[in-house]
């Protein structure tokens, strides 16, 4: 039933990410109207529970969503099957999770 679970997880994570991506892009357009510095960004994000939750959710969803797509690419284009491909994408997902959460920590930690 792995493939059915992956199907559900990929759709669910996409549903979570869609509004987050829109909010993220609108925020960039809004914030950049008059130019913004790294210091100004950090002054808003540091210590903000809201932004920590927003981007952590984003990172977790992406770390679930992307590896499932990559799993299909590896299986169909590189012929990887079974445990090999599952271990490869588990590693890829973990990598996305670690570097993503580290980045979130970097902008919200005080």
């Amino acid at each position: 039933m792995t493939s059915a679970w992956l199907y559900i997880l990929q759709r669910a994570s996409a549903m979570i990410m869609a509004p987050l991506v829109i909010a993220h892009l609108l925020l960039i357009i809004y914030a950049m109207r008059g130019g913004i510095t790294a210091g100004e960004i950090l002054s808003r994000t540091q210590g903000s529970v809201g932004w920590a939750v927003f981007y952590s959710l984003f990172v977790v969803s992406a770390a679930i969503h992307a590896p499932i797509g990559v799993r299909n690419v590896l299986a169909e284009m590189a012929g990887l099957k079974g445990r090999t491909v599952d271990l490869a994408i588990a590693g890829f997902g973990l990598l996305l999770l670690i570097i993503g959460l580290r980045a979130v920590y970097g902008v919200v930690a005080t």
């Binding site: 039933m1 493939s3 059915a4 199907y7 759709r11 299909n72």
Partner: protein, 243 residues
């Protein structure tokens, strides 16, 4: 065939097995001529060693599908005038199946996948019981009816890129069949069927690219059937029915 034999066309036919070569023929172009007529003309008048498969000649049996000018088609119902390009036609065996010889493919695996997708009816009543009435207007019966007229020609299977990438993939025809049975209220093996199609070789591998629906000669939409299987197997999984 008509009497207009003055015009001819160039026909390129695949000869051999998976490795082989194109052979060129000059065939009279006639009115209302089908691709199957062309192949038959070549075999009867030009080269009797040419192998191909056909039976009914009227679009019912699904035996005569071939790749015509790069696209999978039922050759008995494909008019030359609709597919000829600059007076030329190329005729090759279907893709995604081993070639036995020339234009005939080995369809063993194609049909084995129907079995693997639980593509057989498992009724609950015997001949000693009353018939189980099915409401023709019910949503399930209408979904089944929409996909039921498959003639097993393997045009969709040949058109499917996922099959070409993953030889285990059950393919549009087998999954479409599973979908029609899933919507048959008289069938008693729905859980087994959903388990059979919810694997890496099953419905979730479909990219919804829709080549099957584009090329299906009888106008079915296997993509839609597969989407239904994805939905129903996901639902059953969340309800804990697919242990």
């Amino acid at each position: 065939m008509g009497e207009n034999t003055a015009k001819t066309m160039k026909v390129k036919v695949w000869r051999g097995k998976d490795s082989g070569d194109w052979q060129h023929y000059e065939v009279p172009h006639r009115a209302s001529q089908t691709i199957l007529d062309v192949v038959t003309y070549i075999q009867r008048h030009l080269d009797d060693t040419l192998s191909y498969r056909f039976a009914c000649r009227v679009g019912m049996c699904g035996s005569c599908a071939m790749t015509v000018n790069g696209k999978p088609r039922w050759t008995c119902r494909t008019h030359v005038s609709r597919v000829v390009e600059d007076g030329e036609v190329s005729i090759a065996p279907l893709r995604n199946m081993p070639v036995i010889k020339d234009l005939a493919c080995d369809m063993t695996e194609f049909f084995a996948k129907w079995q693997r997708a639980e593509g057989k009816f498992n009724g609950t009543r015997t001949r000693h019981e009353k018939m189980n009435p099915v409401d023709p207007t019910s949503t399930a019966r209408q979904a089944a009816s929409a996909g039921i007229e498959c003639i097993n020609c393997a045009v969709c299977y040949s058109a499917c890129d996922v099959v070409s990438w993953n030889s285990e993939y059950l393919g549009p025809a087998a999954l479409n069949r599973a979908w029609t049975l899933l919507n048959d209220e008289r069938d008693d093996s729905q859980t087994e069927r959903l388990k059979a199609v919810a694997t890496d070789a099953g419905c979730h591998s479909c990219h919804s690219q829709g080549s099957c629906a584009v090329h299906c000669p009888v106008g079915l939409n296997p993509s839609l059937s597969i989407a239904g299987l994805k939905r129903e197997s996901a639902k059953a999984l969340l309800q804990g029915k697919l242990k």
